[in-house]
Structures are given as C-alpha cells and as structure tokens.
Symmetry: C2
Subunit: 334 residues, 2 copies
DNA sequence: TGTTATTTTTGAAACGTTTCGATTTTATGA
DNA sequence: TCATAAAATCGAAACGTTTCAAAAATAACA
C-alpha cells in the first residue's frame, strides 16, 4: 500500500518552514535565502514531492493548455493538422492535448474541456460539436478557433479552406482535358465541405456550358465502402460517365476499386478525382488526382489565432486558405 | 468586455441560499426540496453558470480522465490504438485525452499530465519518455500501462506485441519461398522493437542453417528516406541480396522505391518485407508483405489493464499479443 | 400543545497551491 | 549601541468546488 502523495505541507513541516516559504523556494523566488532553497529542494526530493498541477491551475485560473477537438482522433489526415497546432503552441509555451469527440455521450469531451474550463483555448474540427456549445463556452479568457465551420460569434475565430475553389479547379482540370460527362459524388448531406465542393464543380460546369449531374444522385458517406457501392451502382446501371469527381479521397478510392474490379480502366475509360490528398492517395493504383488541403498551415494558423486572441487581439478576420490541385494518374493518361 | 465567469457563489447569492445547498441541488442530491432545486437550476441557467472542472477535480482528487501519450500524435498507425483505448475508456465513463511527447521540452507533456496528476491513469507508447519519469509518476492512484517497453515496476503494467515471433515468421516465410541471402535492415539502434524483430530473424535463419546478415550493417531511422538511401547503397555496392527484411514498413517502402527506380524488380529480383502493416502498405506497388500488429487490441487491452488497476487489481501479468503475417506481392510472384 | 422524527438547509472545513501584507530576522551605518 | 534599512520568513486568504456534522424548519404523532 503506497502512502499518500506528499504535498507542499509535508515539505513545509519537514523543513520547519511556512508553506508559503516553501512555495517561494520551489518557484525560485529571489526572496528566499539560497541556503534555505537548497534545503527545501533537498527535502522535497527526499519526500518525492511533486506539485499538484490541478491545485496550481485552480489558483492561477489558467491551465497553459489548449486543446484540439477532432471527431476522430487519428483519422487519416489530421496528423499534419495536429503537428501545425502543436508546433505553434509549443513555441508559445503552451501544452496541447487532443481529444476525440466521436465516442461516448455526445458533446461530453467538449463540455468537459471547454465548458468546465480545463483549457485556456481550443481548436475545433468536429462537426458533431454543436454551435451552441461552442458559443457558450467561448469567452475572453477562452478563445475558440473553429475550422471548416460557418460560425460567427464573439471570441470565436474561424479558419476555412477554400473548398469551393478547390472543387472549381479540379473540375476545370477535367474539363480542360476534354471530359464532359462528369458526375459529382457527394458526401453526407449535412456536410458543408461536400456542399462547397459541389458549388465549385457547378461553377466550372456552367463556365463550360456543360450539363452537370444532379447533386444528390450519388451520395456516399465519405467512406471507401460508400464509394465502392456507388461505383458498382454506376456500372451496373450502365450509366458510366467520362469522369467522376468524388467529394473526398476515401470515396474516390472505393470507386476506383470497384471500377477496376470489373475491368473498367481508370483513367482510360473513366477518370476519377478526389479531394483531401490523404496519404494513400499517392499510392493507390492509379495514383489519385486530388486537391490538397493545407492541413499543417491550417493548424498553425488556427493556433496563431488562438494566441493572438489570448493576447487580447480580438480583431481577427476569418481566413480562407488556398487549396492546391494535385494531378496524378487517375485523371490523365500518362 | 465580458464579465467574469459566474461561480457557484454567485448562484447562491442570487438564490439567497447557502453555497452548499446550491451544490447539492446542482448535483441532484435528494436532500434538497424539489422546488428549491428547480429554482436553483433556473437561476444557474440565468447566470450562465458552468461548474469549474478544475475546482471539482481538486476537491474530488480525481479527474476521471486517462491519457495516452504518443511520441507523434497522428503517426500513421496510432489511429487504431487510440480507438481501442477510447472505446474502453468511454465504456468505463472515463475521458481520454491524447498528447504528443515529441514537440517541446523533453518530457514536458509527461510531467505535466502524470507527475502533476492531471489524469487518473496513462497509457504510454513513446520511447522518449524515460523510465524514471514513469516509475516516479506511477502510483496506486495513478496506474500506468506501458506499451512496447521492458519496464517492471510497481503500478506499471505492460502490454507487448510479440515482435520476435513476428520477425521469426516473416523470415521463415521468406525462407520457405526459397530465399536464402536475406538482409535485415534495422531501425534506430536504441529501438527495442528493431532488436526483437532481429532476434526472430536470427532464430529463423539459424533454424534453416543460413548465414545471417550482420545486424548493424544497414540501419535506417524508421523513415522512408532512410530506407531509400539504404536501397541505393545496396544496389550501388552491387551486393544485392535475394530478399530484404526491413524492421518497419516505412523503410521497406523507401527501399522498394529505390529499387524500382533503378530497374530492380520486386519481388522477381529482390523480395522486400516490412513490419507494422501501416495503411499504405496495402497500396504501394507491389503491395508489401508485412507483419500486422494488433493495434486496436493493444489499445483496448491496455485500457482494460488500466481500469482493472484502478479498481484495485494489481496482479496483472504482462501480456504478449500475437502478430499476424500478411503476405502480399512484394515477397511472392503472383 | 408539546415532543419526536423527518426533511431541508447551513456553515465550516477541506482539496493543494500561490500571493499579499505583515512580521521577524539579519545586515548596515552612524 | 541603537536606529534603520534590507532580507527572509510567515500567516491568512484566495481559487471554486464538495462534504460533513450540525442547525433549522417542517411534518408527524400522541
């Protein structure tokens, strides 16, 4: 049975000093005599004393920690985002913790970290955290940066990726290559991303005076399986288009897989393009033409916003980050 | 300028009740009259009161949170691990936060979360957190599960993957296919994983009475670039083996890339196998034969250990999870 | 109505720190 | 040696909760 964790009181008692002196000593306050400090340090060491961070946070009314909330921690392309946040947070001497909002009671992670003020700031890329929660939690002393979300509120700042332009450019790429019958495969119907990418597609198609596919004809759930089914469906119904623009890479990969299985060649018979530039998009066969989102930048910019806000600057305009078209082999015969 | 967050005191004052009554009311204690509770709830709502989690944690001396410490949050194959942990933690009504140990001052994340007791338990897969820190932080009330680390200490529990057997099996697979001149490419010299995988390789080679490569001749840093250089080196020196067993997939992919670049065919000229079964290993060309680590199980088992320990069971023997050989095209002509 | 049992509310202490103003100790200068 | 300045230490309050024992209010019963 281990004895209880020793506290600053125990150290004080052992050193025959006041608690306050010990505290000062441990925090290297110049007011304590050098010899006392050394003695305190020694005794603290001997007692295996470790300050209790929670008590410290309570007193300080700050945690020096920011969090990043993701629906699915460890999703395929959050990695760079997290890195971006962490790099900036670290250089501002803040700690970063991440939490997934997916499992468990809905909103529990958000409530716990934000509403109950266990962090000093937050970056949120999680559609399942509702605006309400965010608006309520945000405050002068707890700025929140939302990613990929249309939300305008006090102490809430916004970083967006130009999904619409990305959709426009990749569609135009297809059109320039001569493809005309281009089908758009959308994601979940409540996905803003999917919607915006469609709008870009729409614009490009209009620009070329080409008839566009009805938006909601083909709808996966941003999953590879979803794409696979849609691919099967398209070919089974004998309505193969010239090209498919899938609202994300996972679905695009599923689509390609289904095509290839039944002997439809990509891109010779049908071109396929995706969106997101997830790591495997480079490795699938054929490699996937897609649109890169600047995930690292997104994280870094979001974190910078956070610290600007924490330093009192509340005049931060929403920023729109550019995407980048990445042409690979799924759209263009070598 | 936003006014200060309201506390339970403000609610009490507004309701003309004692703080303690309000606390009881908010926590649905049956001792408070129903009508009072409703009144309190209403007033709390009106004041936008949100309990301060830090104060609560301090008083309760527990956080209902466990953390998972990874060197590189968002690394390619942690995703499943995190999911495993989170699933189990959630079903035990605990929250999970994740933190990367890579950026920033070394050990800072670990110290902050573990030593300063901001969590009730931890799962650690991060070679850069040293044993010392773990041993010191661990306690009856803060069990720690270490993954892939040889560490035996009080309140520290261990979940391992049978790297040695994995190495043995994949080597045997090569030997059974007739390969004899098999080179082992190791990871960083301080990597236990790499070492164990080598031992499995050694055993298999001995079993077949084949001469094995010297262990430290070829050493990448578990990176694709490292593998690429080694591949170049091997071919440049004209000492191509029959097969290469790379201590992880990233390096294996780099090696294949370099081979293919200069016209060496995989697997016809040289077979390549890796370890870890990272997502893209399935998609590279040729697809990579590798060894799967049961990441989800690892996370789930680790979390289960944690909660067993939190519930007073300290008799948990280290567990060794089996690996699984995944044969793909990089080792075997179709 | 008075007594007792029950329900409801309360004040104070505690969790482990930091910080402030006050007090004690030591050093300084005449 | 004494007064004063400077250095070192101290005690108490505070951070925002929960909890415990006790007090107050209400209900039940004779």
């Amino acid at each position: 049975m281990q004895k209880n964790m020793s506290t600053i009181k125990d150290v004080a008692k052992a050193a025959k000093l006041a608690v306050s002196t010990v505290s000062l000593a441990l925090n290297n306050d110049p007011r304590v005599k050098e010899s006392t400090r050394r003695r305190v340090l020694e005794i603290a060491q001997g007692l295996q004393y470790r300050p209790n961070g929670i008590a410290r946070d309570l007193k300080a009314r700050r945690t020096d920690t920011v969090c990043i909330l993701l629906h699915d921690l460890g999703g395929p392309f959050y990695s760079e985002l997290i890195r971006g946040v962490q790099d900036v947070a670290t250089s501002n001497k803040y700690n970063t913790i991440a939490s997934g909002t997916g499992g468990g009671h809905i909103g529990s992670a958000a409530v716990r970290l934000l509403s109950e003020r266990r962090v000093d700031g937050a970056i949120i890329l999680a559609p399942d955290v509702d605006d309400e929660t965010i608006i309520h939690a945000a405050g002068k002393d707890l700025p929140i940066v939302v990613l990929d979300r249309n939300l305008l509120a006090e102490n809430v700042y916004s970083v967006l990726v130009d999904n619409e332009r990305g959709g426009y450019e990749v569609t135009k790429h297809l059109l320039n290559l001569g493809y005309r019958n281009i089908v758009f495969v959308c994601g979940p119907s409540d996905s803003l991303d999917s919607e915006l990418r469609y709008r870009g597609y729409e614009t490009a198609m209009n620009e070329f005076h080409v008839q566009k596919s009805k938006r909601f004809d083909y709808c996966g759930h941003f999953t590879e399986e979803g794409g696979y089914s849609i691919g099967k469906l398209l070919s089974a119904m004998g309505i193969l288009p010239d090209a498919v623009f899938s609202a994300n890479d996972e679905m695009a990969i599923g689509i390609m897989k289904s095509f290839i299985e039944i002997g439809i060649r990509v891109p010779e018979d049908v071109a396929v393009v995706g969106f997101d530039n997830i790591p495997i998009s480079e490795y699938v066969q054929p490699s996937l033409t897609t649109v890169r989102q600047p995930m690292y930048d997104m994280g870094a910019v979001a974190a910078q916003f956070l610290f600007q806000a924490l330093n009192g600057n509340s005049e931060l305009q929403p920023v729109l980050l550019p995407t980048e078209l990445i042409v690979r082999n799924s759209s263009q015969v070598k």
